[in-house]
């Protein structure tokens, strides 16, 4: 006869239930195991030595689910996710700005130089930005089916497009892979917004952030709006500005308006969301500013504007805010996880 066979049934059953309760996190077990054990034993028929199969499965699943939930980031993750869901489409829109070496109305007007590649690039960028804005808006409005359907369709299209354009041209894949990565982040963050119990960003705040970012995305266009290119009689091209003397104040004004709107949106955020936005976005702003300053400073005589970047350079440049934002998110998650763990420790000790 085994040792378990010699013991009273109740004792064996209790020991087996305790083993099942080991699937719960330690702090939860310390607070609730005795109470749960009492219920589980009372539910069991007299004389049983093994837990019911359904009861055992339920305890295992509940315990593992609690462990999983405890290990997942909660609201701390969702706030920056909501911010990024709004920011991603606008970053995509900003990338479209690299095609704006001349304003679209000049490119399309009769007699002007046809720059079809730039127009197509600009149009594709704007369409892509509009698509992911729709995903973000559906996420913020809690329309899960629309958000999911549009996000999946967008990702499939982006992947197919990347595969098609990079066939036989590996260089294109290197220059454009980040567009798919950005789309993936946009999809995930938009869907993550819906996990929150409350709407993290009010519609006015969302609109204000969107306007500010859109204005910033249009900044290179505003800078170039004063420049027109016309074909010269000799076959070359001549640049002239319709806003001589106003280009500087115009760009300063656009930038100033964007900053004011962004500040207004920031003030409208809740204090917790504000703090998390700072943690996530500040590294991106600082590193991007430093890299821009260093890059432009290394090219004396060049126009002090980001439209000096080539396509591949843009790809590399956009990695800076992307990676520093990701670093901010990881740091935020780690810090808040640590804080939660420390807060739980005294509570568990009390029990």
């Amino acid at each position: 006869m085994s040792r378990a066979g010699r013991r009273p049934a109740a004792e064996v059953l209790e020991r087996r239930y305790r083993r099942l309760l080991a699937t719960y996190p330690a702090d939860y077990r310390a607070a609730n195991a005795d109470d749960m054990l009492g219920v589980a034993l009372a539910r069991s028929a007299a004389g049983r030595r093994c837990p019911e199969l359904s009861e055992a499965a339920n305890l295992i699943v509940s315990g593992l689910r609690m462990r999983l939930v405890a290990s997942l980031p909660r609201h701390s993750w969702r706030d920056p996710a909501a911010i990024l869901a709004v920011a991603c489409p606008l970053l995509i829109a900003a990338t479209a700005a690299r095609f704006i070496s001349a304003p679209a109305w000049v490119m399309l007007s009769p007699g002007s130089i046809t720059l079809s590649g730039q127009v197509q690039g600009l149009a594709a960028g704007i369409c892509s930005a509009a698509w992911w804005t729709l995903v973000a808006a559906a996420g913020m409005a809690r329309w899960p089916r629309i958000a999911l359907a549009v996000a999946v369709a967008g990702l499939i299209w982006q992947a197919i497009w990347l595969a098609l354009v990079s066939t036989g041209q590996p260089g294109v894949l290197w220059a454009s892979w980040w567009e798919l990565a950005l789309a993936l982040v946009a999809a995930v963050t938009a869907l993550a917004c819906m996990r929150s119990e409350v709407r993290l960003l009010s519609w006015p705040a969302t609109t204000a952030i969107a306007i500010a970012a859109a204005v910033l995305a249009a900044w290179p266009a505003a800078e170039n709006a004063s420049v027109t290119w016309r074909r010269s009689p000799s076959g070359g091209r001549v640049e002239s500005s319709s806003l001589v003397g106003f280009a500087g104040p115009l760009t300063d004004g656009v930038l100033g308006c964007a900053v004011i709107v962004a500040l207004a949106a920031f003030i409208r955020l809740g204090p917790d969301v504000r703090r998390r936005v700072i943690v996530v976005l500040l590294p991106a702003i600082v590193t991007t500013a430093l890299v821009s300053w260093g890059w432009l400073g290394s090219m004396p005589g060049w126009l002090a504007s980001l439209d000096v970047f080539y396509s591949g350079q843009w790809g590399m440049f956009e990695l800076v805010p992307a990676t520093s934002s990701a670093a901010g998110l990881i740091w935020l998650y780690g810090w808040e996880y640590l804080r939660r763990t420390r807060a739980k420790a005294p509570a568990a000790a009390e029990h």
Partner: protein
């Protein structure tokens, strides 16, 4: 905050606690009684529901006792919980009334619903 409809186990636990403070096993038994034997809560499900209701402030711990050298915790419905149960019961009553009206129109013999 957008309030989602309570799931059946949560509704039944609140209904049971509306009868007064109860410990875990008493809750399991009362839920079975209230649901006419249809729902018998597993231990894991019961405590998951209680955790969610406590986090939402709908249920509170009333007291703890040591019975046969084991902790026994009693739960009680909070004021917010009583309010929420009232709202939920009224919502379900309206839904049931609407369904009954439609069914009467569809099948007059179902008027005894």
């Amino acid at each position: 905050m957008t309030e989602q409809a309570l799931r059946e186990p949560a509704f039944l636990v609140l209904t049971a606690l509306a009868g007064g403070p109860m410990h875990g096993y008493a809750l399991v038994e009362d839920v079975r009684r209230v649901s006419e034997g249809r729902v018998r809560l597993h231990t894991g499900t019961l405590y998951a529901v209680l955790d969610r209701l406590r986090q939402a402030g709908l249920v509170e711990v009333d007291r703890e006792e040591i019975v046969e050298s084991r902790l026994r915790r009693y739960y009680v419905l909070s004021d917010a919980g009583a309010e929420r149960l009232t709202v939920e019961a009224e919502r379900m009553r309206r839904n049931a009334a609407a369904a009954t009206r439609r069914l009467r129109a569809l099948r007059p013999e179902a008027g005894t619903l």
